[in-house]
């Protein structure tokens, strides 16, 4: 029987990697991700997880070691956050371009300077274009389920891409939640051992990571784009299969009380649960406000997003990262661009908030909605609003 336990979500992530029977974990400590790799180290030390644990000397080496172990066909897991993700930056591109399905949990964190170990999504947005499949989860159960799904999605021979599972630093990574862990036998059925089609091995010598002249580089990059785009089918299939086996269903775009809502909020990650509380309150007051949450960030779910917001008049997007000197938050930019070609589309209003661990309460979301509606009606001379900041 699957059992439900109260557990810190970071530890639950490690337990999920154990259920996935990861072969190699290469990791470096960084707040707020550390509990994940600490627990993995514990599991390996106690013989509960038969894996090689490589305690590397930096995140750059963590991801580099992951490239090596994945290239020989080992199921590979790591976790990081904030500065660690940025230090990995160039290595992330290699993982996706070389088709190495590493799975990484990212406990999203703000970027220095000033130093902040607290949560926001600046780290993710800086690695948006690295070619990884990227998922945002909002609670402990979803985290565990999607770490398992991440292995299956990435390792599918039609995909072979690395996957990031984003969970909010502290707000999700450090909370204790009730999580239902599936039975090992069920997981094994869902996730058979990794079989990399072209591993590095002396029996069949391969050259991996050759360089490309201009005459070939564009073709390689196009192939990568086609591949990531096509991965969406497999992602949907994977979630479908997961739903059948475990009874929990996931989709690229989550809709919450949004069907008749004229005003929609759009969020990513754990703040969505607070936004739901705000939506409940506002609907109780008879206001037509709903919520849309992106679970799948890459490949971007264009069709599902358009479908989800097509009847709304105002769409208020909350970003937890700033594109300095630009159009506001990266999420808002992308949403606007996804809707630009639509004949009927909501007005898109951008907010940036919740930076560096600054909380947004249900009342805060109501404030954002009110201000958003006001801007939609009266217009604004600013490209975006920064919420909850002292002048």
């Amino acid at each position: 029987m699957a059992k439900k336990v109260g557990i810190e979500v970071s530890l639950a992530v490690a337990e999920a990697a154990k259920l996935a029977n990861a072969d190699v974990v290469a990791a470096y400590p960084i707040t707020p991700q550390t509990h994940i790799v600490e627990h993995l180290a514990e599991l390996v030390a106690n013989g509960e997880l038969d894996a090689a644990y490589i305690p590397v000397e930096s995140e750059h080496s963590a991801m580099s070691a992951c490239l090596g172990s994945s290239a020989v066909g080992a199921r590979t897991f790591t976790a990081t956050a904030g500065q660690g993700l940025e230090l990995m930056h160039e290595v992330l591109y290699v993982a996706s371009a070389m088709r190495l399905p590493v799975v990484m949990a990212v406990a999203n964190r703000a970027l220095s300077s000033p130093l902040s170990v607290w949560g926001d999504q600046s780290d993710v947005m800086a690695v948006r274009d690295t070619g990884w499949i990227q998922l945002f989860v909002e609670n402990g159960q979803e985290t565990v389920d999607n770490v398992l799904c991440a292995f299956r999605m990435g390792e599918d021979p039609r995909v072979l891409l690395p996957v990031m599972v984003h969970l909010d630093g502290f707000y999700l990574s450090h909370v204790i939640e009730a999580v239902l862990f599936p039975e090992q036998s069920q997981v094994d059925k869902f996730l058979p051992p990794f079989k990399y089609p072209l591993p590095l091995h002396p029996d069949k010598p391969l050259t991996m990571g050759a360089f490309a002249m201009p005459v070939l580089y564009s073709e390689v990059k196009k192939a990568q784009e086609v591949n990531l785009e096509a991965a969406k089918e497999v992602i949907l299939e994977c979630w479908g299969e997961f739903g059948k086996l475990f009874g929990r269903n996931y989709s690229p775009v989550e809709r919450y009380r949004s069907d008749d809502a004229r005003v929609l909020l759009l969020t990513l990650g754990g703040f969505s649960e607070t936004a739901m509380t705000a939506v409940d309150r506002m609907q109780e007051e008879g206001r037509e406000v709903g919520l849309v949450r992106l679970r799948l960030w890459r490949p971007f779910p264009f069709a599902e997003l358009r479908q989800a917001v097509k009847n709304a008049e105002v769409l208020i997007v909350l970003d937890r990262a700033i594109s300095f000197g630009g159009p506001g938050g990266p999420v808002c930019s992308e949403v606007r661009s996804a809707l630009y070609g639509e004949e009927k589309r909501p007005k898109v209003i951008g907010f940036v908030g919740g930076l560096g661990g600054r909380d947004i309460t249900p009342a805060g979301f109501e404030e954002i909605v009110n201000k958003g509606i006001e801007i939609a009606q009266k217009g604004s001379d600013k490209e975006f609003e920064i919420y909850g900041v002292r002048e």
């Binding site: 930096s58 590979t76 002396p202 050759a210 070939l216």
Partner: protein
């Protein structure tokens, strides 16, 4: 002395795992060194190669010179990639996911990829004790990007970023002692080699590959393009580097130093320098200063090897 003589007939495998047709410059000492190393390594290896000359000349898509499994990812991370390969193979064999087999993991990089940008990853991999062989092909500058100085460039050498000028003699720092840094990690095997001594090079590579645990070999790779000497002189230049004490050949086995070639008296360094454009600008007093330093360093090395 047999392994140091070139003209003694002996059996060496004809099998080339580093195939001809690559795009190295004429007279490239590094390509020769890689070729010899690959002969010594045999088939059962996986090579992780850093960005650099050898990576570029050997792997233009869709061609490859590698007849053994080979991976290139980035510049500074080769030792970390090798760590992952080694750990991955080991656990997969333990779990029965792949057949048990002796597979040596070999990391290759240039001197910049080793002693500058890749030093941290290398130090980490040596400290963790991975079972791998690291080969540093030392041509004493960033040759792939056009002869920029590295921390392995010798004192006085002119490079494009340490040019000799009216008020500069070129490189103003002494060559970083990378083998000593490797040895300070207390790894089982450290050695220096040079393709001008091909049998010695092959023997050291084979020895390093056979050892359990980290092994580090620094291979002086004369570069006609970057050092500015005639392309037919690569082997001779390598010999002169060894004979003048510019690049002494030695091994450090479990902390014990052993000179491979012990010269009672070093040949004057001017013999080595005068053949190379990179040293041509140096006034006599600087050459003298270098000579003194070499003698001092060589004496220190001899002392360690006593």
């Amino acid at each position: 002395m047999e392994s140091y003589a070139v003209y003694v007939p002996r059996l060496v495998t004809k099998k080339e795992n580093f195939a001809p047709g690559h795009r190295a410059c004429i007279g490239c000492g590094e390509a020769l060194a890689v070729r010899l190393a690959c002969k010594a390594l045999g088939q059962s290896v996986i090579i992780a190669n850093a960005t650099g000359c050898m990576e570029i000349v050997s792997s233009p898509l869709p061609y490859t010179s590698w007849r053994v499994p080979w991976i290139h990812t980035l510049f500074e991370n080769t030792a970390a990639v090798a760590s992952g390969i080694e750990a991955g193979l080991k656990i997969m064999m333990k779990k029965g996911r792949i057949a048990q087999k002796e597979i040596k993991v070999v990391a290759m990089a240039g001197d910049g990829g080793t002693s500058d940008i890749g030093l941290q990853a290398l130090s980490g991999a040596m400290e963790r004790g991975h079972n791998f062989l690291y080969l540093c092909f030392d041509n004493e500058a960033y040759m792939n990007t056009g002869i920029q100085r590295s921390s392995s460039t010798p004192f006085g050498a002119a490079t494009t970023t340490s040019p000799a000028g009216k008020v500069s003699i070129g490189q103003v720092s002494w060559k970083k002692n990378m083998p000593a840094i490797a040895a300070a990690h207390d790894i089982p095997y450290v050695a220096t080699a040079c393709p001008s001594y091909p049998f010695d090079l092959m023997a050291k590579v084979a020895k390093g590959a056979a050892i359990q645990g980290p092994a580090y070999i620094q291979i002086l790779s004369p570069c006609p393009t970057g050092w500015r000497f005639a392309t037919n002189l690569s082997v001779r230049i390598g010999r002169l580097a060894v004979e003048t004490g510019m690049f002494p050949l030695y091994e450090v086995e479990n902390g014990t130093y052993k000179l491979t070639l012990d010269f009672p008296k070093l040949r004057p360094v001017a013999d080595y320098m005068k053949l190379q454009g990179r040293f041509r600008h140096l006034p006599e007093e600087i050459v003298k200063q270098i000579q003194q330093r070499l003698e001092k360093e060589y004496a220190k090395l001899k002392e360690k090897a006593r």
